[in-house]
Amino acid sequence: MKYKDKEATRPYIAGIAYHAARWILGVVFIYAGIHKILDPAAFARAVHLYQILPDGLVNLVALVLPWVELFLGFLFVIGIWMPGAAVLSTLLFMVFMGALSYNLARGLDIGCGCFSTSPAAEAASIRTVARDGMFLVVSLYLLCATFGVAFLRGLRKRGDS
């Protein structure tokens, strides 16, 4: 009881940050997913231009990844399956960042293919890598928060029994 009174405001702030992070990633993933689902052929071309995946996997990834993003977005917004969603989004942002940086480093001028697949879309650049890095930080925070909560719950249960 005493612990609760003393630290009354901290969980409150943490709660706001947690839900804000959840909503940010949710909206980002839904937005990113929908654009790619609407034009799979264009997204497949964008994936191909990254020249990272073997040719045989390009279409498969182009067909499934947008739905993973959309589904992840909904999970974040609703706030269920948070451990899985946080792990997967962190992994995805790491992969995106790696792929973007790799192509920047080897001087390939390609489209980001992040939020739009149209020819007029933005190019992969330091800016898109930095934006990805920011999402990665939000995702990492969510990962820590989610597993922190799960860990504490586990401790409490252990205390009860």
């Binding site: 799979p40 964008a46 020249q51 390009v58 498969l60 399956w81 001087g107 001028d109 020819p119 860990f151």
Partner: protein, 168 residues
């Protein structure tokens, strides 16, 4: 007790697998229902002479080959775009229905081992890619693709020219 501490990770792993599984089923299902569905394994190959060689060429390498006059540039855009401006010395071979007839006119002058760099404009423009596949099928061994070629070339201040170019 160990089991309980390990459980969030196990739970996460199970959820990650389920998310990918559901997305996979929905994604492939929707693709199957679409009238313009993508093949599951697409043909993206532009086979270049050496294995492991990437079809796309970085701008720096294309510029080097240009200055050494070691490559032939082929413009896959429409004739009007070509006339408005193109890479200096590039040939025009628009990727359209008439590409085969036009190709026959210029093919004789190109040795089969010549490095060819195709380009069009825009990061997701696929004309140059399709043209590269076509040229490769026609027996040219070193066909590369300069992605978003016209824009990156012009922005880099590399030599350009306009007009209808050399007669075929």
């Amino acid at each position: 007790m160990r089991n309980r501490e390990g459980s969030p990770w196990k739970q996460a792993l199970r959820q990650v697998s389920l998310i990918i599984l559901i997305a996979g089923v929905v994604g492939l299902g929707v693709n199957w229902l679409r009238t313009d569905s993508l093949p599951l394994v697409g043909d993206w190959s532009v086979r270049t002479g050496t294995a492991g060689d990437t079809p796309a060429i970085p701008l720096a390498e294309a510029a080097r080959l240009f200055s050494e006059q070691a490559a032939l540039f082929i413009d896959a855009r429409y004739e009007e775009d070509y006339a408005d401006g193109h890479i200096k010395g590039a040939l025009s071979l628009p990727w359209d229905d008439a590409v085969r007839t036009r190709f026959l006119k210029i093919a004789g002058a190109i040795p089969p081992d010549r490095v060819i760099i195709t380009y069009c404009d825009g990061e997701t423009c696929h004309l140059s890619h399709d043209l590269a596949v076509f040229l490769r099928e026609k027996g040219f061994k070193e066909v590369r693709e300069l992605v978003n070629g016209w824009t990156v070339w012009r922005d880099a201040g590399l030599p350009v020219e306009s007009g209808n170019g050399p007669p075929p």
